[in-house]
């Protein structure tokens, strides 16, 4: 099969020679009632890298992402089968013996539409710490600042931390949500199409941010935008109808797709 993707810029994110495994998905099935949304997924997530999930709408990208922080536990009649092992703990985080709240303490999430709380900028970022019982003002102050710096928002908001987070612009709100997700020092941050509600400039700044975050945290990002996957990720998984069709380093997947479906999708023949 020939390389077909010329319209998509080459991935700029390199793959480290000996990547460490952060999580391993094995034989994962997921059901909404009787509907099987994920079919026997096997995949590895590498530490401190950005892994992109791509595929046509409805193929199960969000469903897979939301298995990682057990968001589905909030929906009745859902069921996980198989494993998502988290390292170094080596536990299956979708097992029913594992407390979903413990999982969400380690794996945080940024949503499609910015969803800041109707609270101050400060309280938005401090939220995850407060629900963990952190009360000391000095600790909160330090971690809120660090998270806002991590989300490249500190300089813009440091003088108005008491203003409502909902008063910020869309791009700033999304960075506030990133700061909120970072404040608790997560090991993995999940992004579900984080720029689909943003203008191109805000999108570019979020993409830069995601690339810069990857040095210290493992990132999984769902995107329907192939250029975005190419720009920010080191690894890409292509999903179709609940199955993982192809997975590998982004450069390889984009330039030498091994499956016909992948190359059809990448060249825009469907999806």
């Amino acid at each position: 099969m020939s390389a077909v993707v010329t319209a998509v810029p080459f991935a700029t994110q390199s793959v480290s020679a000996d990547p460490k495994v952060k999580s391993r998905i094995r034989g994962l099935n997921f059901y909404y009632g009787n509907l099987q949304a994920l079919k026997n997924i096997d995949m590895v997530v590498y530490e401190h890298a950005v892994t992109a999930l791509i595929g046509p709408s409805g193929c199960g990208k969000s469903t897979l992402l939301r298995c990682f922080n057990r968001m589905h536990d909030l929906t009745p009649h859902t069921r996980y089968e198989g494993e998502i092992r988290l390292y170094p703990d080596d536990v299956n985080i979708v097992s029913s013996d594992i407390d979903p709240i413990e999982v969400r303490m380690r794996i945080s999430m940024v949503f499609q539409k910015p969803n800041p709380f109707p609270k101050s900028i400060y309280e938005n970022v401090a939220y995850g710490l407060r629900v963990r019982g952190v009360k000391a003002r000095s600790e909160l102050d330090g971690r809120v600042e660090a998270a806002l710096r991590g989300a490249a928002l500190w300089e813009e908001v440091k003088d108005r931390l008491e203003e409502p987070g909902t008063a910020l612009s869309g791009g700033q709100q999304q960075r506030l949500c990133i700061a909120r997700a970072l404040a608790t020092d997560p090991e993995i941050v999940l992004f579900d199409e984080p720029t689909s509600a943003l203008d191109p400039i805000a999108t570019a700044s979020i993409e830069d941010l995601i690339i810069s975050m990857a040095g210290s945290v493992t990132i999984l990002i769902v995107t329907h935008n192939m250029q975005q996957a190419a720009r920010v990720s080191s690894y890409t998984a292509f999903m179709y109808l609940g199955e993982l069709v192809e997975y590998g380093p982004t450069t390889e997947l984009f330039t030498r797709p091994r499956h016909q479906r992948t190359s059809d999708y990448l060249t825009g023949r469907f999806g």
């Binding site: 968001m71 909030l74 949503f111 969803n115 997700a181 608790t184």
Partner: protein, 305 residues
């Protein structure tokens, strides 16, 4: 060139227009008659009250501590009635706020869909129980119960009807606050859970504050209902106007006074007759105030979402 079949655009005013105008006029009359009746009530209220205030000075009305319009030595101080009204509403609120909040929290955030769907109509059913029933419930059940705890509680007192009014407005307050909480976007709940919050934390720290103005509006409307409530207090609080802040004493509220007087046969135009309009006007102003406040709170809530 346009095709030959094209119909001409005719000038206005033909039968279709006329029919539409008739319908419009009819609907307009319906709508305005409702407003007109309300306006008429207010006009009568103000007119009769004006007659009352020609005979009794406003200063006396607002400062005198006795309300005895039917006695030989008549005194016209609204304070005892106002006090009874607010005291009963206050007791009611102390009961309705915690219970109503718990009902709303449970239904909106904790109850399985099936439970919520069967409890809500039941709550609305409770709203339909005639208030006389609640009045006798207060007098014959709650008062004796309270007398076990407070031995020298008189048979007529404000505490018992206050508690019962509180219970009475719980369904209303609870279901209106539940609506406010459910209007909070799910995205906020998801954000909270994703931060590692429990359901209780999500409810108390995100959903409730986000719905705060809507919940407050529910409570203000609840007070407005409690102050306008007639039968329960008329039956169980006694009918002696009494300037007191002690809910264990008997007292009368504005509404109870109006019922009491309206049931007797006072000559039209007598001062006793006019006094119920003055009292009614005060009640109207209080409820209006609460309703405006609730409206403002709701606007704030809507603005947020």
């Amino acid at each position: 060139m346009p095709s030959a079949q094209r119909s001409l655009i005719r000038p206005r005013i033909h039968h279709r227009d006329i029919k539409e105008r008739l319908v419009e006029a009819f609907l307009f009359i319906c709508a305005t008659s409702a407003v007109a009746v309300t306006t008429a009530i207010v006009v009568v209220l103000v007119y009769e009250s004006a007659g009352f205030f020609e005979r009794v000075s406003i200063v006396d009305f607002l400062t005198d501590t006795m309300w005895t319009p039917l006695f030989a030595e008549a005194r016209y101080g609204i304070l005892p009635l106002l006090c009874g009204t607010l005291l009963a509403a206050g007791v009611a609120l102390l009961v309705a706020v915690p219970l109503g909040l718990m009902v709303a929290l449970y239904l909106s955030e904790f109850a399985p869909v099936k439970v919520r769907e069967s409890v809500k109509p039941f709550l609305e059913l409770l709203e339909g129980v005639p208030t006389v029933v609640y009045g006798y419930f207060a007098l014959l059940f709650v008062t004796p119960l309270l007398q076990n705890v407070i031995p020298d509680l008189p048979g007529f007192n404000v505490l018992s009807p206050g508690i019962v009014i509180g219970i009475m407005i719980v369904p209303y307050v609870g279901s209106v606050s539940e609506d406010a909480m459910r209007a909070v976007p799910n995205a906020l709940r998801e954000a909270s859970y994703a931060c590692g919050a429990t359901r209780l934390q999500t409810t108390l720290r995100v959903v409730m504050p986000a719905a705060a103005s809507g919940i407050a509006a529910a409570f203000v409307l609840g007070i407005a209902r409690a102050t306008g409530e007639t039968m329960v207090v008329a039956i169980a609080a006694g009918q002696q106007p009494n300037l007191t802040l002690d809910p264990t004493e008997p007292a009368a509220t504005i509404t109870a006074y109006i019922v009491q007087v309206a049931l007797g046969d006072l000559p039209h135009g007598s001062i006793g007759y006019q006094s119920i309009f003055a009292a009614g006007l005060v009640l109207l102003l209080i409820t209006l105030l609460f309703n405006i406040l609730a409206h403002l709170l709701r606007m704030r809530f809507r603005e947020a979402y």
